[in-house]
Every structure is written in structure tokens, then in C-alpha cells.
Symmetry: C2
Subunit: 458 residues, 2 copies
Amino acid sequence: MSGNRTAALAYAQNHQERFLEELKALIKIPSVSTQPQFAAQMNAAAAWVAEQLRALGMSQVAICPTERHPVVCGEYRCPDSHAPTLLVYGHYDVQPPDPLELWQSPPFEPTVNGDYLYGRGASDMKGQLLAGLKAIESILKTDRLNVNLRFLVEGEEEIGSPSLQKFISENRERLQADVALNLDSGILAPHVPAITISLRGLAYFELRVYGAASDLHSGTFGGVVHNPAQVLCELIAAMHDAQGRVTLPGFYNRVRPLSEAERAEIARLPLDEAYFLQVTGAPALFGEEGYTPAERVGARPTLEVNGLYSGYIGEGSKTVLPAYAMAKISCRLVPDQDPADVYLQLLDYLQTHAPRTVRWELIQHAGSPPAMIEPDRPEVIALSQAMEQVWGKKPAFKREGGSIPVVAQLQQLLGMPTILSGFGLPDDNLHAPNERLHLPTWRRGIETLIHFFYNLAA
Amino acid sequence: MSGNRTAALAYAQNHQERFLEELKALIKIPSVSTQPQFAAQMNAAAAWVAEQLRALGMSQVAICPTERHPVVCGEYRCPDSHAPTLLVYGHYDVQPPDPLELWQSPPFEPTVNGDYLYGRGASDMKGQLLAGLKAIESILKTDRLNVNLRFLVEGEEEIGSPSLQKFISENRERLQADVALNLDSGILAPHVPAITISLRGLAYFELRVYGAASDLHSGTFGGVVHNPAQVLCELIAAMHDAQGRVTLPGFYNRVRPLSEAERAEIARLPLDEAYFLQVTGAPALFGEEGYTPAERVGARPTLEVNGLYSGYIGEGSKTVLPAYAMAKISCRLVPDQDPADVYLQLLDYLQTHAPRTVRWELIQHAGSPPAMIEPDRPEVIALSQAMEQVWGKKPAFKREGGSIPVVAQLQQLLGMPTILSGFGLPDDNLHAPNERLHLPTWRRGIETLIHFFYNLAA
């Protein structure tokens, strides 16, 4: 470890009380993005972030208005023209604190209790954002930072980032970087560091099946026409084979096979059958044969029914033979599947399998492609080594089952991969009462990020 | 034809204007059973029917209160101790007239236009009830009637006969008869007389499938647990085979096979593919292989999905992996199937086919057994001959796909079969604006019933 790195780590160590006070100050601003009455506080939080960036010596700091909440930008250009460029992503908004009565301390009065700081946004993600800024401060106050930085700190993450696509499209120059660092995630346990290397994509559809011109009496007409609810069930039933595989033609063509090394990596995660049984409460697990539950969630695509409707669904009975049946169906996609391909595959499936006794239509809702960062990229190696330097062990490489809009948008619009990490923990009570931040892990996070910047610049 | 029969027919002929005036008087009473504001008119209609029975010389005439609308009873005992006994069923209530603005003449101001009498209840079934009473009058005024009669005229048929089961149970003695005559049906066309010899029964279920303990995020958990909506679809899909037959074990065991004679009888009905395509508006017909559409509706059992629900069914998309899925499923049954058997068959099917990855429950809603009258019973032959005497051709023997509560209840509670007939026509606008009665057919109906009573007594 170089002498400078040691100075930066010492600075972080020496200023940890102030860092915590600054985090408390940010948590005190109730920046609830979804409720209009917090508009002034949203602006105050954006101004607070912008002021932090200015205090760090960032240039081009700007609070950029959007249709709802502003985006805070800024940049740092280092003298070395060969230095890598990192886009630091964050969000300053938080979830609503309701139900208030379940909080043991007020959500916007940050309170330390033992190893934890309690407060809305402590973990998601004001704490994570500050970890990044305080790592940068620790280096800049003691040394030079040999990495170019750009900042994208939004205020709409908790409401689905509705303004972000437009903002990214209109600010391509200002955001250009080699890779994005998104700390809006976490590690698996205080002793299990992790980096998320892939997110699944989404293709979402609505399948509508029409039979008779209007609902019929099931006595007078039952046996004469094809019941669209039955047809819908038959179509859905045949979308999986007996091995739990999706039968849409070509569905797996572009799915990257898991290497033995990747399977070994996934097997290290504490996501075994007992874990999934416990968190889901299902009577038994189920999924594609030949893959573990963690592999199925992280690295295999799915097709799920999200909704079903037909006929009479109230109390008791009604002897209707429905004219119409509908299913919401979505696929979670893995690299290198494309939502547009999946639409055509489902269309192909329906054209082949739907009987002529009904009419049908397939509606496409918004989706997103899967996202993945190659684990052998230098930025991922730099973070992995940093974690090893702090924790004394290599991080787990996680594959997340869900999608994150900003990750998909940076990939799609700027071709920019994202390193997704952070120092939250599974029991941080995200989006729930008594959200908290594990302070020892947070401090390790700041140290990790100091190492990361040094490793990246090396 | 005997001389007396001729006198009765002449009486009917001579009094047809008065008969029509009496029918108009009854239609003028707006006896809408479903709307509480017509309570007084319901009592007035019951009193009108009771007065008719008294005027005919019936004994034991009584207006019997029920929880909602009264039942009118009465009887006629003929001197011949070997005479058959007939229970004449009717209902004096009508459907609401809404939408009023679509009526070309006021619904409760009966209006003759050409061959038709317009008014609510003209065909369903005040006209049919009066046809029966006027045939009896025509005989009693000119001759002796050699048939014992009992009357059961309810006021709740249009609301599903909720008080009838209790009433029948508590009045077994008063209602005892060899067979019931229910004129609340119709013929197929002015030149095609018909008798309905069977009704399908109903077994109605609700199948609930449970997966995870609560709705899950389809990204985080998709691929790990069995989606109950998918399981439900698979269970429903496998309830039919490729030939459109129901796969519940033993489902067809008690189904009476159709004889060649019965098939020939059904083939006479004007219920071909073109007819069903036209009335349903379906793109194509569908059903059990090896049977015509009319056979499938009248003489074959079915299993239909009446309702489907799971997860998110609103606008747009929600990436939920539902914890619960539900289907309403019902079977139409034919002689000699039993709803209780079908419940056990469905239970057996589910125990065999439902995977262990979900929990499920099967709820049984009210059903009814199928009803059939043997076409070679003397009462059916008497009516069939009467139709041939009036129309010059044998009636069609129809099998109806639906169920009628009173027919099932008389069968179940008193073991009494019902001759279901009447002189309505398919285009009488039942339950719709401009309900009407085809007067030439109605007059033929009165003549037919006069013949029927004579044939029955012979």
C-alpha cells in the first residue's frame, strides 16, 4: 500500500465522527420524492448534495431541473490524460416513512443505537452516497485523485426514475464515462462483501383471448364454443415444459451459458434452498431443472404469469361462459436476451398454438434489456481487490433477479456498464420502518472505496 | 275426437276475445318480483291468480306467504279415483321492464299489433299460465275433467325461486302429483312444436391455489417458486383432452349414451352449426368430438371456466409473482350424473395432478342434478299427441342445456318429473324490451292443452 493511500485511510479514520454528523444532516432533510408536499425539502436535499460536491472541489456543479425533481451533476478532471473516467451515480430521495407509528425513533431524526444509525435513507442510499463522497474527500484532502469523475445524483429513484431517460439522452456529453459506479445496493452480510455483476431484463406482455361476441349462459351454450379462459389456460400451460423450461421458440438461443467458474461463484452465495423457502413461505421451491435456486433467480430467464382475469370473480357463483380472458405475462431476461426478440418469440408461439376457435391479441408493455458487467473488467477487479484489502476475502459476484432502470438506461443510451455495489445489509429495513445503517460496515465501505480509487488509478 | 272435446275446443274458439282481455288484465299488474316498490302489485297479481282458480271451481285455493312473495295453491279432484294427478306450475312475477325508453308501447299497457300482444310478461309467462287456465276452463264449462289438478304458482321465478325449496318441502302433501306441467318454455318456431324432455344439472366449484406466503417481486423471486397462476392454468388445461372430453376420472361413467333414435330426434331441431355460429358470434364452434353442437348442448356434460383471477389485472404492468390464483369452474351435467359425484371426481383429479409446490382448496357452490322425463311416459305421449293433433306434426323432443330450479327441486324433493313445454317463441323478446306473445301460437297452445287433458284422461 502506498504512503498516500495510508494517509487517505487515516484521514477517513480521523474524520469518521464528522462524516457521521454530515450523514445525519442529510438524513434530517425529509426528501420524500413521491409526495408533493416535500417539494421544498427535495430542493434542499439537491442543494445539500451540490454544496458537498463544491466543497470537494468538483467543477461544473449544477442543479438541473427535470419535470419533477432536479438532478445534481458535477465533475472532476484529473491532470493525467490517461486516467479512467467514472460516473458516480446516486439518489438523494427516499421512500415515505409510513407507517410512522412503527418507528422506534423519528424517521427524520437520525439516531445512533449501538452499531446502527436509524433513519429514513440511512442505508437507501444517503449513507451509500456519502460513503462515496467521503472516500473522495479523504483522497483529495491528502493526495491527488488519479481518476476522472462525473456525478449523476437524481431525486426520482424511489418513484421509478421517470425523468432519467430524457435527462441521460439530453446530457450524453456531460455523463460520458468508462463505467458507472452505483452504490445503491449492498453486501450479503457484514462478513460477506459482494459486487452485483448482472441484472435481469424484463419483457412484459398482455395476452387477450376473445371467444363469443358477448358473455354467454353456460347452460344454453356450454359445449358449443371454445371457452377463452380455457384456451388461455391451455396456452399458458404449454409455455413451460415438464422440466420447467420456457417453450417459446428460440427463447434460450441468446442466453449465455453459465461456466463452471460462474456456477462455483454463485454457489458461494448464502442463497440456498432453506433461505428461499424461508423468505418466500412457499410450500416447496420450483424452477428450471438442472439449476440451483440462486442460479435460477440470477442467471436464468423466466416466464411468469403476473395476472389473470376472466368472467365472474366475485362472491359465489355465476354461470357465465366468458367472452374474454386476459393474462399479464412477463419474462425476466438474462444476457444476451433482447426484449424485442422475446416479443417475436411469444408471437410465434401464439401463432402456432392458439386455436382458430378464438381471436387473440398480444400487447407489449415497457421492458428493459438485461445488464451485465464483465467480471474481468479492470474497474470490477479494482473494486474486488479493494474489498479483499478491507475484508480479507474476495467479494461474492452476485447476479440480481430484478432490474434497475438507471442501470438499463446507462447501458442502452450510453453503452455504459455499471458496477453495482454498496454497503447496505439485507436487514437494513429498506422501504420499511426503522431503516438503519450498520456503521462498522459503512466505515469499511469508505475504506473500500478509497482502495478502489487507488486500485483504479494504478 | 269425442264430442265433448269438440265442445271444449269450440268454447275456447268462441271465448278467445275474452281470454285475451283477461290476459291483458293480468299483464296490467306490474308484478316485478325483484323491486321492493312493487310489493303491492305482487300481492295483487297473486290475488288475481287465486281469483281465477276460484272462478274455475278449484278447491283449497290459498295465497300462501313466503319470506318474499306468496305462492298461490289450489286443487281439483275429479270423481274418478284412477285419474292421473297433474301439478300445474306457473309464476305470476315478471322481469323489470328496463330500459323503458326502448319499448314501443308501455310495458304494462298490453297492446295488440298484428299477430302479437306486446307487454311485459305476455310470453314469460302470464300468457302461458293463462293458456293452461283457459284450457281447463274450456273443459270444465263444457264437460267433466278426468284429471286431478294441483296448482303451484309462485312469484319468485325471475329472482331464482329463493323461497320455493322451503315451500315445496313444507307442502309435500298439497303438491303430490304424478307429474308436473311447466309451461314456462316454448316451441322452436310457429310451425315447430316442441317438448323439453331434459335439463342439464350443475356442479359449481371454486378452486383456489396458493403459492408463496405473500405476493413476491417477480425479479427477485421469479424462477424459485411455483407461480400459482401457472399451476392453475396447468390444472385447468389438463381437465380436457385433445378431443374436448373432460378428463376427471369417472366423469362419463353415469352419462346415458344417446341412442340412435335420440340422435335422430335431436338432429331434427333447427340447431345446426350455422345457428350456433350466428347466435354466439364465435369465430368457430368447438366441443367434444363425435357429437353435433345440439347434442353437445343438450345431451353431453361439460366443464367450463366461469371466472379466473390472479395477481395484477389493472392497467399497464406490475411485476408481481402472485401468491394466489382462483378459478370458478362448473360442470353441466346430464342424466344420470350427480353433482356430489362430480365434486369427488374433481377432488380426485386435483389430488392426483396438483403439484406439491402449491397448496389448494376446492369450494363447492350450490348445484342441481340433471332432470329428465322419459319420453315414453303416458303424460309426455299425451302432450305429444295433442301437439300432433293441433300442428299436424310430431313435436321435437328438446334437451335444454340450462337448469331450472323448480324442475330440479320437484325432482329432488318430491321425485316428480316435469313436462316442460309452453307456447313461447324464440323471438318473443323475453327479459328484453318489447316482450311479445304470438297470438295464433297462443291460441294453438290452448287447443293443444285441451287435447292434452283429454288424451291424459283417456
